[in-house]
């Protein structure tokens, strides 16, 4: 039983990271109807940047973290400006291919710049554990869960109560009307990409102590994608819940089932869930659009 709880908490932590990446998919999709397949690579890049700031340059963990997030925000909006905006309005295929290509480019660039070794950063939580009765929880896992909750609260506040956040909701609900209101729709798109890249960066830095940093952690995006679909693809809570479900299922099947199940678990869950609820968990009642 103790094992089960411990594994579940680990799964939730992993799922939070999936959820954050899925959140990036959903934010961009809702606002611009573009599926950004480079989301996982954005996360990887964020992790590498934080490695450079923290391990190579020797900055304080929090300072390096913040710097990486800011850099990724700039990078995200630059990508939107240079790669996506020129082809916005053309068929989905071109945009999807552009984002896949973008991901490949980012991945190989990262390989060239940071090499192919596994990198690690020291976090204030490294090695720390919380003991609760017989339960032992790694501080790393706990930090991910807490950070995800905080981030969600901030995002909720931003989209619900700030003028620019409401304008983003408005743009995603009716782009033409947003133009008529004098909302600078194109700048809003850049901002959405910036926010998605920031969220991805945070996910990457949080994940770093668990999986180490290497050019292939971008592939986690492929596990976050079913999380987004599971949540209905247009719902922010859906993305997080989907992420957590997939994280927990993956961890538990890695622990209890024979080897190999771990990697397909996400897709098995997705297939079963979509057979029962084709619209995704939150798809039909996605009344609160962001």
């Amino acid at each position: 039983m103790l094992d089960f709880i411990q594994q579940t908490i680990g799964g939730i932590a992993l799922g939070c990271v999936y959820g954050l990446i899925a959140l990036g998919f959903v934010l961009i999709y809702k606002a611009t109807e573009v599926v950004n397949f480079a989301q996982g690579e954005l996360m990887m890049l964020g992790a590498f940047l934080s490695f450079t700031f923290i391990a190579t340059l020797g900055l304080n963990y929090w300072l390096g973290f913040a710097l990486a997030v800011v850099c990724m925000a700039v990078l995200g909006s630059t990508m939107e400006r240079l790669v996506i905006r020129p082809i916005l309005g053309y068929p989905q295929f071109s945009i999807v291919m552009a984002t896949i290509g973008l991901g490949l480019v980012v991945r190989s660039l990262a390989g060239m710049l940071w090499g192919t070794d596994d990198l690690r950063i020291e976090t204030p939580f490294t090695g720390g554990v919380f003991k609760l009765g017989g339960l032992v929880i790694a501080a790393d896992s706990l930090s991910i869960i807490v950070a995800t909750l905080l981030l969600c609260a901030v995002l909720y506040w931003f989209f619900r109560y700030t003028k620019i956040g409401i304008a983003m909701q408005a743009t995603s609900q009716n782009m033409l009307a947003a133009y008529y209101m004098g909302i600078p729709v194109k700048r809003i798109f850049s901002l959405i990409w910036a926010i998605s890249a920031m969220v991805a960066c945070i996910a990457g830095v949080l994940l770093a102590p668990i999986t180490l940093i290497h050019a292939n952690i971008g592939f986690l995006g492929l596990k976050a994608f079913p999380a987004a679909v599971l949540g209905g693809f247009s719902s922010i809570p859906g993305a997080l819940v989907g992420g957590i479900i997939i994280g927990v299922v993956e961890t538990l099947s890695g622990f209890y089932l024979p080897e190999g199940f771990k990697d397909v678990a996400a897709y098995v869950v997705l297939l079963v869930a979509l057979m029962v609820m084709p619209q995704g968990l939150f798809g039909s009642r996605a009344l609160k659009k962001v």
Partner: protein, 273 residues
């Protein structure tokens, strides 16, 4: 009565002595590959309501979209207070003082009524004045205040139309572009909406360009009218004159029965340029 005088006392004095507030000269716009309006010239004087009448597909909406910057004209000029605004980004046009109430309302369905209205004031930074204008809009449309916290998608068609107009007013426009405010509403509601439109013009001095299929109510409401047919202006005049015109009575007001329906033509020589 000028718009600035009532809505925004701090704004700059109107420029150009007596020039038209909004002027289109020889505007041509394509809608995709189709030339939707050709050689459109029209003027809107300060404090007036000018209407553009025309059947479905005549190009009425295209004119408004060209003015608000959603479509770029191929040729011609759009001037606001003598300043060319064609090919400007839509958000800049709004900041210069043109608000568009689009066809079919286009409210933000999942935002509350209040947030919808606040989005109308998006370019503005004067919070106190926005709050005052909000109260003013609630004065004209009390039902919006009652339902301020409901999602706009739950409003009825008429209420959504009121919301769309109120939302546009919150930008404190010099010119309000109204695209078929009567669309899909019951006759009673149409009357109510147009009564408020007239009041806004009388009391607040909002200048309006009104595009309508419902010629009857449009001619009753506006001061001056243009008639649009397949992308061209074929007739213009004061609404009083237009109402008396045979062609208008026949084709737009349905007051005369036509014997030979197969040969519907304008009796006068078309006056297009």
């Amino acid at each position: 009565m000028s718009v600035e005088a009532t809505l925004d006392p701090s704004a700059a004095a109107p420029q150009g002595p007596g020039g038209p507030l909004l002027k289109l000269s020889n505007v041509e716009s394509y809608y995709g590959p189709i030339l939707a309006i050709r050689g459109i010239s029209l003027e809107l004087a300060r404090g007036q309501i000018v209407t553009v009448l025309g059947a479905n597909g005549a190009g009425k909406t295209t004119i408004l979209k060209t003015i608000s910057g959603v479509l770029d004209p191929e040729k011609g000029a759009v001037e606001l207070e003598g300043r060319p605004i064609q090919r400007m980004a839509p958000d800049r046009v709004v900041r210069l003082g043109i608000s568009h109430v689009p066809e079919g309302r286009e409210v933000f369905p999942f935002l509350s009524v209040l947030d919808n209205l606040r989005m109308g004031a998006f370019p503005r930074t004067d919070r106190d004045a926005v709050q005052r204008d909000l109260e003013k809009v609630f004065g004209y449309f009390p039902v919006l205040k009652e339902r301020a916290h409901q999602p706009a998608g739950q409003l009825s068609g008429g209420q959504q139309q009121m919301l769309a107009i109120g939302r546009a007013l919150l930008a404190r426009p010099k010119v309000l572009l109204l695209d078929e405010p009567s669309l899909g509403l019951s006759p009673l509601l149409v009357k109510e909406i147009f009564k408020i439109i007239r009041r806004l013009n009388d009391e607040e001095g909002v200048s309006m360009l009104l595009v309508e299929q419902n010629a009857h109510i449009a001619l009753e409401t506006a001061h001056y009218g243009y008639v649009l047919e397949v992308g061209r202006i074929v007739m213009d005049g004061t609404c009083r004159d237009l109402m008396k015109s045979d062609d208008i009575q026949e084709f737009y007001l349905g007051m005369k029965q036509d014997d030979d329906r197969g040969t519907r033509r304008w009796k006068k020589k078309k006056t297009w340029r």
